[in-house]
Amino acid sequence: MTAADAFSRKKSNTEARSVRILTFKIDDRDVSAREDETILAVARQNNIYIPTLCHLDGLSERGACRLCIVEIKGSPKLVPACVTRGREGIEVITNSERIADYRRKILELIFTERNHVCSVCVSNGHCELQQLAVNLGMTHVHYDYLYPRLAIDASHERFSLDHDRCVLCLRCVRVCDEIEGAHTWDVMKRGINSRVITDLNQPWGSSSTCTGCGKCVQVCPTGALSEKGKSVAEMVKRRQFLPYLQLMRGVDRE
């Protein structure tokens, strides 16, 4: 649970039993929303596209990839739609020239960070990163590639981890902690040296806490986590379990 979630829940407990309904504008359309809903959730209800990467319905928010940034009229600061709640009367702009430009550049940065060679990737064709490049009209990368030298961890009997494809969205870390309750995954080091790890940075296959549930693989947006022995065509991720599990656990979420 992120701070923001707990915060919103706490607020709704203390201040008003009945949640207030707000009206504001997104891209010149009038929308109404509960006060504890994020701009992203409201936009989605109204079929307004905001690109996202670290966000995944059913997991806590991180606000880290910054692809969902939007403008609020009259404020120079850009805000991430996935963690920002609406306010009465504001005007949200989701697709100005400036934002589109920033988003493309952020995406380019992600591509330069690791070695994303789509042609040999198991997720080619079902990759969220690839899809984002298409959606945002990113045609080429004009920054230098960093070409880190990274390894593949294929020690797990059913799954494998390819750091070259990892975008550090940390969905795996969150699903493992928040849904499966195993907390096998975490990130070691910091900054550009950050890597996802299992247990004490040991081979995944030797992890003593991994339950082998495979949820991390299903939520991974790219080919960083994949099932062994699957062909490219088969490597489609299944995430239906997430809203379902959340429902079963009685967490009121979108």
Partner: protein, 177 residues
């Protein structure tokens, strides 16, 4: 797992919780004082490093169990914070300040000459295990830049020659000093 101090590895194999080793007792005291709470993770890692000079995997495993913190989280915290080290340090350590004042005062030249003289870069230890070189982000002695810490003692207004000479004295001496 590699360990330098033989008795340390022994006390790991016997349960650190009951260990009579002074070093483990100090770690256990920190854990107890904080009521085995997960939020004492950083404090406890400080205690481990203070006792043993570094944090090894066995210690992490033990801390994780005692504080009920996931293993991966212990590893993440131990590697996120630069103050913690997972490698045993050399007999002597030299910490060169790379803060702004010292940088303007010429600490890069000091590092270069250490590298020239002893073949070690920041984060490395000489092959004989005698001298470790580290860098710091400001020691708070900026008025005396460039500054460095030699085995816990801060020295200021340094130049490359003095530093090399000090380290050479360590490297030549037997590990007694």
């Amino acid at each position: 797992m590699t360990q330098t101090a033989a008795d340390a590895s022994q006390s790991v194999q016997t349960n650190p919780k009951q260990s009579q080793d002074r070093r483990w007792r100090s770690v256990n005291r920190t854990i107890r004082l904080n009521g085995n709470q997960p939020d004492a993770l950083i404090e406890t890692l400080h205690a481990v490093q203070e006792s043993f000079g570094y944090i090894d995997l066995d210690a992490m495993q033990y801390v994780a169990r005692e504080l009920t913190v996931p293993l991966s989280r212990v590893y993440a915290v131990a590697t996120f914070y630069h103050y913690f080290t997972l490698k045993p340090p050399g007999d002597h350590t030299c910490v060169v300040c790379m803060g702004t004042a010292c940088y303007i005062g010429g600490s890069t030249a000091i590092l270069d000459s250490i590298h020239e003289g002893f073949g070690i870069s920041p984060g490395e230890t000489t092959p004989d295990g005698k001298v470790s070189l580290l860098t710091a982000r400001c020691l708070g002695s900026c008025g005396l830049a460039p500054a460095a810490v030699f085995d816990g003692e801060v020295a200021g207004k340094l130049d490359a020659a003095t530093v090399v000479e000090k380290i050479a004295r360590w490297a030549d001496h037997d590990s007694e000093s």
